[in-house]
Symmetry: C2
Amino acid sequence: MSNITLRDIAKALNISVSTVSRALNDSHEIGEETKKFVLAYATKHNYIPNRMARSLKVGKTRSIGVVICAMDNSFVAQMLDSIDQICTQSGYQIIIMQSKESYEQEKACINLLYANGVDGIMISPSFQTTDFSHLKELQLQGFPIVLFDRITAELDVHKVTVNNIKGAFEATTHLISSGHTRIAHLSSISTLGMTHERFEGYKQALAKHQVPYEEELVRFCNTADPQKIDENVAKAMKELLEQKPQAIFTATDLLSTKVLAYLNEHSYKIPEDISLIGFSNSDLAPILNPPLSTVRQPSRQIGEIAATTIINLVKGKDIGPAETIFLDTELQIRKSSSR
Amino acid sequence: MSNITLRDIAKALNISVSTVSRALNDSHEIGEETKKFVLAYATKHNYIPNRMARSLKVGKTRSIGVVICAMDNSFVAQMLDSIDQICTQSGYQIIIMQSKESYEQEKACINLLYANGVDGIMISPSFQTTDFSHLKELQLQGFPIVLFDRITAELDVHKVTVNNIKGAFEATTHLISSGHTRIAHLSSISTLGMTHERFEGYKQALAKHQVPYEEELVRFCNTADPQKIDENVAKAMKELLEQKPQAIFTATDLLSTKVLAYLNEHSYKIPEDISLIGFSNSDLAPILNPPLSTVRQPSRQIGEIAATTIINLVKGKDIGPAETIFLDTELQIRKSSSR
DNA sequence: TTGTAAGCGTTATCAC
DNA sequence: GTGATAACGCTTACAA
């Protein structure tokens, strides 16, 4: 596994570099014998083409940048896994970057990816991001961008996400049908559509079933700073619990498990004292204490569709004008919201 | 954010390309005014150096390849997160590749990373890997390699892992002190040291406390094929349960939660009917049903030390001969193993 | 202090 | 069918 180059092969075989290059790229203008000859030597000496040289020359790297908030989150990890699978299959490589919910870091990621010459970027913006000009500039240049999971109307690009309104509506409706009327909603602070939509679905369900909406039963807490999440969640929960809710609907993976932990710690019996349902993609939901009712997002499908889309884009395929794909969530009722 | 190059800047400023290059690299042989002049123009026009060109020239990419089995696993994700943090801090980029517990895919990953010109590779080998020649070749060339989490004696490189024997010994001892004598052990099939060591720790604890070792209480099941894991675990559990164990000690994250799920499904009361403790790094362990006693690995520390080591290596620092760092695991006793 | 030119390993455009 | 040669964008002797 040494640094053997096209030139080395050419020299050894007494042919020209271009012939070697063409032979290895299976060009039609090369004789069959020569091809075999070259290929044999190349494989024998474990020739590995230098991607950087190739990229520099052709202006394409066969790599896709993927920007997410953090990878140590089961939902994100699932999406990443499927994205990686699709890209690897298609001969593309992914470069994963974490924004850590920071706008500044997100911009840095984009720049780095751009410097790396990625052929396209898939991004799930940070909760802090309100200004999308860093992406807009790229988009206007015709640079392939796909938004997945977290989307924004600010960008006219292909997007893949879930039907948040519907998911939240179903979860809330389920709580109402279980006989609850005092239903709290806990979400993350962000300007992303996701947050609004889940809140909207919650309100729509209340309205539809003539359950009065009460502002005191809703809290948005800051989940961007990992150091302070527990503190912020605790504060929000304390305030919510003072309102004596019968049930809680949490809007993100993180919040759902944090709230479950909080309630357990404070000796609330779920679902006897209080019911709980939340967005979550943890595979452990069925074995939580109690088994957690969840709104599950089709993480792998989101990743697959988004990855397929970006690959089509970087390949220059005409896949029509930018459109948003909404996938359905799945309501998984378990003990935490059953009586 | 357009593709402006050194040449563009040089032309616009009527100076040579090399001057621009040196100015932007803050070379000492460039006048202060020129530097400012160039830098101003560069930032104004949003110059982003082409990493590929630079890499091709200098033969270094400032990137590190990271090979792991799968990233949708909380323990792995935690390590990746800390690795990413350290590398980003040091101006290195990581390229993550998944072996999916396949030896073939692992080799493909290494080749791809090598083609990408990564400056070094951090790897946690797949359970299937028994032949390490693909890595040995690199190592003999002096290519920087660091093994983390899963290690092997086959390679003379820096390694970072945990003290598996001790961790398993403590877990088993804990079960024994709780009054159990029929303690089952469930692990993954692999030739990696980890598997042997945890088994060894289990046996040492039994021996130390004069608990007879029984082969029927030990199973190694194939966890490499994600499609068949549930099936394989179920089969192993069925066999183990026939032996009426009082407690089970599971050797990996995956097995620990799978076994918990299996026992719940089959209506075993934990810890009344059977106690459970297992290696696991899930943040959800405290809120599982019941809260799961775990042997927790210092995932972030493993990642940090391994990343720091590889960076020192690629920077050419002399950090002495290859050595293995063993970190201690942490025993977290929760309800699943308490009476 | 700045400029010239060669070269990293490929691919593409010419010729032959 | 095959071979020279230029070029991708950058760094770096070597000159000036």
